[in-house]
């Protein structure tokens, strides 16, 4: 419990900043919606002029783009990208910061098992992400209700918003497994940005071809917003893939962390 509180405190600032930034982005984007809805017809014509591959790559769907939920998907993909960076950052830094700041000796000579340490750290990261999501979804809900022009399904809106949370969990798991395997990470941001963007671009490439198999390579493509809006549900196979990745990565982290040598500085 003491470690959990300590970690939460350490990430308090970063959680506040990330939450605030995500809120700012969604407020900004959604405030465009009223004027956007007015010009909908003209815009539709312009977009029809673009090839389908490009429309798919930027996450554009003509059918529902002009409903509020369709419009919401557009900033959401960007928000998700930011969220993934946040999660990857926390994941990568939460163990590696002890090595970088040379406090690993301090923590590991205390009467606690390494499993307990990792659990406290994982929980702290998880809570930070939950807090970010709660703040974000609250702000986004308020915004959506403010700018809506017609009725929409709030349930669907929540389902769409939660995709960020799921993707964050996947990247959190990635980050943690990297931070226990790599002996010393000098710059967390470089590592996390590189990995998140790599997956993002892989996801964009897979979109242009439309093959389902390729979507497995990028967590960003596990949740197809058009599919969610159409079917009011997630794609089970991708949910399983995501859960599998998370479980594997976390399990591997526990094994590696409890067995690895902590070298002096």
């Amino acid at each position: 419990m003491n470690m959990l509180l300590h970690e939460l405190k350490a990430y308090r600032k970063s959680t506040i900043i990330w939450s605030f930034s995500l809120v700012m982005i969604i407020v900004l984007f959604m405030s465009f919606y009223p004027s956007f809805a007015r010009d909908a017809e003209d815009f539709k014509k312009i977009m029809e002029g673009y090839p389908e591959a490009i429309r798919n790559a930027v996450g554009f769907n003509l059918g529902n783009f002009f409903t509020i939920l369709g419009f919401y998907c557009f900033p959401l993909s960007f928000i998700t990208l930011c969220g993934a960076i946040q999660a990857m950052n926390i994941g990568t830094s939460i163990v590696s910061k002890e090595v970088r700041e040379k406090t690993a000796d301090y923590l590991l000579t205390k009467p606690v098992t390494r499993t307990t340490i990792l659990t406290a750290k994982l929980l702290a990261a998880f809570i930070s992400i939950v807090i970010t999501n709660v703040v974000y979804i609250a702000a986004a809900s308020i915004m959506v209700f403010q700018v809506k022009t017609g009725d929409f399904s709030f349930e669907l809106f929540l389902m769409l918003s939660l995709t960020m949370f799921f993707i964050q969990l996947i990247f959190l798991a990635f980050g943690i497994v990297i931070s226990v395997i790599v002996p010393k990470i000098k710059s967390v941001l470089t590592v996390s940005l590189a990995i998140v963007f790599a997956f993002y671009f892989v996801g964009m490439l897979s979109d242009t071809t439309g093959e389902d198999l390729k979507r497995y390579f990028s967590p960003f493509k596990y949740f197809d917003t058009a599919y969610i809006i159409k079917h009011s549900g997630y794609e089970a196979s991708f949910l399983i893939a995501g859960a599998g990745i998370i479980i594997l990565a976390i399990a591997a982290s526990y094994v590696v962390y409890s067995k690895k040598d902590i070298h002096s500085v």
Binding site: T103, Y106, L108, T109, V112, T113, D261, I262, S264, V265
Partner: protein, 297 residues
């Protein structure tokens, strides 16, 4: 009862570093010195005891329990002070010590105050703003606030000024009187001589010898360097007790252990230009230990 018992402990990593087949024990209530040059394997041994690293082979027990298997339980009674201390920079000293205390299920606030007073430590400063010596003091308080039964010190005096060093040693002696066992690793012979009852000497990952400090002190080594006016016979100083004899034109040097009068008489018989008699440094004593035949030990 043996507080620490190390049996054939081996840790290899990479090529040169590591420890090979280390065995020794530390008895209840003694101050045990662990001495060797930098890179000899002192820290490796200590880090294995603390289960920061895992042994390649061999085992160690602390309080009769395996130091890996029962690590969290054992660590409740261990205080550890590393040679370089690092803490969370943005914390206040007070908060860090509270955080440390929160790992032990007892009230340590009184002891923290006592120790901070003895070590003259300002509890309200930020860790980041502390000097090296003051950080070290935090380390000392941090390592002793839960009144451990075993204190493990890894080259603890670096960064402490002589006055603080003195206070720290007094603190250790006081704890020792209460029955606390201390493992004191150092590369400074005089520190170990001042504090310890017994000492293990380690070099290149191997224990060279385990001796009582009193025996070590009887072995009074002197380093001689003599400059003569004429070239000296190579074997002139080759008498009992002379080691590492080197003759280089007019300069002869060696390490001597034994009755110093024997050497002085020899020196008196020749014409000398200059003479240096020094305490040998640790490295040279190690050299000596290495050259010793195993059966003579």
């Amino acid at each position: 009862m043996n507080v620490i018992e190390i049996k054939n402990l081996t840790k290899t990593y990479g090529k040169a570093r590591g420890i090979t087949d280390i065995s020794f024990h530390v008895e209840q209530g003694e101050i045990f010195g662990f001495i060797g040059p930098n890179g000899a394997g002192k820290s490796t041994t200590i880090r294995t005891l603390l289960s920061l690293i895992y042994p390649t082979s061999g085992s160690a027990t602390i309080f009769g329990k395996d130091c890996i298997q029962f690590a969290p339980e054992i660590k409740k009674e261990i205080g550890y002070l590393p040679s370089e201390v690092f803490y969370y920079d943005n914390m206040k000293v007070k908060d860090l010590l509270k955080y440390s205390a929160s790992f032990y299920k007892k009230d340590c606030s009184k002891r923290i105050k006592e120790l901070a007073e003895i070590m003259d430590l300002d509890l309200n400063k930020k860790i980041d703003d502390l000097s090296l010596g003051n950080k070290k003091k935090v380390g000392i308080v941090q390592g002793m606030l839960h009144e451990p039964k075993l204190i493990i010190l890894d080259e603890p005096t670096s960064g402490l000024d002589p006055l603080m060093q003195q206070k720290f040693f007094e603190l250790l002696e006081e704890e020792n009187k209460k029955g606390v066992t201390i493992l004191f690793s150092s590369h400074i012979l005089s520190e170990v001589q001042r504090l310890c009852n017994r000492v293990a000497i380690i070099k290149e990952g191997k224990i060279v010898t385990v001796e009582k400090i009193s025996t070590l002190q009887e072995n009074n080594y002197k380093k001689f360097k003599i400059e003569t006016k004429t070239k000296l016979d190579k074997n002139y100083f080759n008498i009992k007790g002379v080691n590492n004899l080197e003759v280089n034109d007019q300069i002869t040097s060696f390490i001597f252990k034994g009755n110093i009068n024997d050497v002085m008489k020899k020196i008196a018989e020749i014409e000398i230009a200059n003479l240096w008699i020094e305490e040998p440094d640790l490295e040279e004593i190690f050299m000596h230990y290495y050259e010793k035949e195993p059966d003579k030990r």
